[in-house]
Amino acid sequence: MMKKAKAAAVILILFCAFGFGRVPKLILDDINMESAVGYDYVNKYIIKATSVLPIYKPDKSVGNETFTASDELSKETLKKINMASSRQMVNGKLEVALYSKELAKQGIGDLIDTLQRDPSISERLFLAVTDEEAERILSKRYGDRDTGIYLSMLIEQNMDVGLVPTYNLHQFLNTYYSKLSDPFLPLIGQKGKDIHIKGIALFKGDRYVKSLRQDHQFIFKALLQKVKQGTYKLRLRKHHFIAIENIHTKHNFHVENKKNKPEITIQLKVNGIIRETRGKKTNKKAVEHIKKLMEKQLETQGTEMIRSFQKLHIDPLGLGTQVRSRVRNFQDQKWLNQYPHIKVNLKAHVDILEKGVVD
């Protein structure tokens, strides 16, 4: 009797689970997975969203489809896009989110909110600012994969070996929420048929303020993280350049006079290999000269860049966090007031490890 009751209970529970516990299915081939999304400015209240979907064909080739919709809420745009799509739209495989420069100037905080609130969005998502309308960039097709994957591969590759600092959604949010540092994003532009990374867009809070000068990109990345595989174009004289490759760098912060007015000294160590020269022998003396020159050039570039940050009241390098970690009872407000006036010294030390197989 007891046994029968138990068996009945178990069957009832399983019946309940299978009958009422069902959850909506997202079968892989019945959904449209957004791979990139772009936001454009329409007017003060309305944004235009563009979604890119890869279309997987049975013969293993990948097509591309773009949808556009405008609304006040970005989730609402997804809904509108869904109305135009033959399959359910999901955003779990989102790789890249683009914001047009114009929109970024107005602030992207609210749009970021939808990304971080949604658990299905990856922390490794790449954010970028576009020089022109995001829709224009996304509606074209590049390479053999869909635009989203292409963009993410482009950005990732440039982060690994190029001059863009490694920077995904998680790091963006870290700097965005931090009072002591400001976010930045890669800037994407179109050049003819192709898209390329133009530089770095600097933010104050969630607003775009300025893009980084092209020649500051190397020192920016070197001061932010360890460069592992960089290249540097050293200008000797007019039209005389040297390419230093396989650069890896290390930097150290030193903070003095912590209590009142901090003074920051950054020591930068650069190791590299000469790969290409234009009209220059590479004997011992010349190498010594190159070293000196490069040190000087890096120092001027760096100081210049930091000065410009201070003028704009932005801190993408996170100098504030560096000082905070060295000062007890650190006061945020005091630091923020001080920031434009503190002295930052940059000392570079360059080592040329090899110079290739010929002298």
């Binding site: 069902r22 299915k25 079968i27 892989l28 081939d29 997987y56 049975p58 779990g92 993410s152």
Partner: protein
């Protein structure tokens, strides 16, 4: 054991030996004849289908015809048999006749008679093991005769401590069942459990050792085998020396080993014939194969039905484009393919070997390719299901392979319901089931839980013999030590 098997066959109403013979005479193969020409006339009766006629003609009839018998006891003197039985007890006579003895009487109505064993020995030759085939190591397998089987074991363990207890089980089959153990090594409790269960066993027919194992297992409702059946006498000898108890059943070419732990289901006995590194690697592969076999199709279903985020972008193209034209949801697709594989296996098992192979090839290649071409299944799933089926055949114990193949279906169902979470829930159920399970009262998950480091030496991996100086702890052997560690394990310096 079970209520409805307790009924004995109807009681016969005869009283004297003569009545018994009359009763038996109803059966066509019963021979009962009188030889009046000899110095002393006698009656002889036997089952023609049970006895060896050659023995009768060569060793019994000539002697009886030659000599004059004064009393029935003289039969003992004249016949060249060491165990001629003189008795008048009905029960013994009945048993002996039915087991192939020849009954000799001086007068037809005599109560006393002589019983001479002349049963026909009809056993197959000892052959190569088929289920537990091994490339290295001995190649003898058990046959259907209990005497041969016991012989195969005893020659491997020529010690007086090897004890055999015999039982006769089955109200109709009267099957001989022998319990083997080594005194002084095997734990008394284990022996008693086995003997107790066998004594309490009431069943009408024991045709094979699997009957016994189904009837005395701790949990008859479990999918998992709680006793291992083996056809290798070397394995039996090996586990006896570790302290296990072995059951050998007449008419069955498989011996039963108990108590076991789940890890032993992954051990081929061949592991002991190759060096320990390889054996360990093979065991690990088997464990991985089994987990793979159970989990891979459910994970496929779960990920494709619910968790598209998990798939890396480079794999996405392969997966989505292979599924683009498939009309069925992943769950149905998987179930249908799994059933097809089961179908092939079942058809192959029911057919003679050669035809079976053909079926496998035809089914595997033709149906598989056609199904993919027709767009009924995705080729990714086809690969997964085929691999999973292959992996399920790596278990050295045949019954375990069946268990694995069946286990996959509840996992599939749960994967369909709640994706990976469903798999985790099914896994929790399985774990708890295994925790509950015992084999002859010993924990089934042993070296894992209760965790015993010492037993891990010969569970998922097999360490060299020199490190295996102790018998497995879960058998609770009376004598823990296998051998004493000698100086070989001393650490030596260079050139010493």
């Amino acid at each position: 054991m079970k209520m409805w098997f307790r009924k004995n066959p109807p009681k016969r109403e005869e009283h004297t030996l003569f009545d018994l013979i009359l009763q038996y005479k109803k059966s066509g193969d019963f021979v009962h004849f009188h030889n009046p020409q000899t110095p002393q006339p006698y009656w002889i009766s036997y089952f023609g289908s049970l006895i060896d006629v050659e023995i009768l003609h060569r060793d019994i009839l000539p002697y009886l015809n030659r000599t004059a018998l004064t009393s029935i006891k003289d039969v003992k003197k004249i016949l060249p048999f060491e165990d001629v039985l003189i008795t008048s007890e009905r029960q013994i006579i009945e048993d002996a006749l039915l087991r192939g003895s020849v009954l000799i009487q001086l007068h037809e109505k005599d109560a006393a008679c002589a019983l001479v064993r002349a049963e026909m020995k009809k056993s197959r030759e000892v052959t190569i093991p088929e289920e537990e085939y091994s490339v290295v190591g001995p190649k003898e397998a058990f046959v259907e005769s209990i005497t041969t089987n016991l012989n195969l074991v005893r020659t491997r363990l020529p010690i007086s401590e090897l004890q055999i207890r015999e039982y006769t089980i089955g109200s109709l089959s009267k099957t001989k069942v022998a319990v083997l153990y080594i005194e002084g090594i095997a734990n008394e409790e284990n022996i008693n459990t086995v003997c107790q269960r066998l004594e309490n066993l009431e069943f009408y027919q024991i045709l094979d050792s699997s009957f016994i194992s189904q009837l005395i297992e701790d949990n008859g409702n479990s999918l998992f085998p709680q006793l291992i059946d083996t056809e290798r006498p070397d394995r039996v000898a090996g586990v006896l020396a570790e302290g296990s108890v072995v059951i050998i059943v007449d008419g069955s070419s498989h011996a039963l080993i108990g108590p076991i732990s789940i890890m032993e289901l992954f051990n081929a006995f061949e592991d002991y014939y190759i060096n320990w590194q390889m054996a360990s690697a093979f065991r690990l592969i088997r464990v991985l194969a089994v987990s793979f076999s159970i989990l891979v199709t459910p994970i496929y279903v779960a990920v494709l039905t619910y968790h598209y985020q998990l798939i890396p972008k480079d794999l996405m193209v392969t997966l989505v484009s292979s599924r683009r034209t498939i009309p069925l949801p992943p769950f149905l697709e998987a179930v249908i393919l799994e059933l097809t594989i089961e179908l092939l296996r079942e058809a192959g098992a029911r057919l003679p070997t050669k035809v079976g192979q053909t079926i496998g090839i035809v089914g595997g290649i033709v149906i598989g390719t056609a199904a993919v071409d027709a767009g009924l299944t995705s080729n990714v799933l086809l690969i997964i299901v085929a691999l999973a089926a292959l992996a399920s055949f790596t278990t050295p114990v045949y019954r375990m392979g069946n268990t694995i193949r069946l286990l996959r279906f509840p996992f599939l169902l749960m994967a369909e319901l709640w994706g990976l979470l469903g798999i985790a829930i099914a896994f929790l159920f399985l774990m708890n089931h295994l925790l509950r399970l015992t084999s002859l009262g010993r924990p089934y998950l042993e070296p894992i839980y209760p965790p015993r480091m010492k037993d891990l030496k010969d569970a998922i991996i097999r360490l060299p013999f020199s490190l295996q100086s102790n018998r497995p702890h879960f058998l609770q052997p009376q004598d823990q030590k296998r051998f004493l560690k000698n100086k070989a394990s001393e650490v030596k310096d260079i050139d010493e």
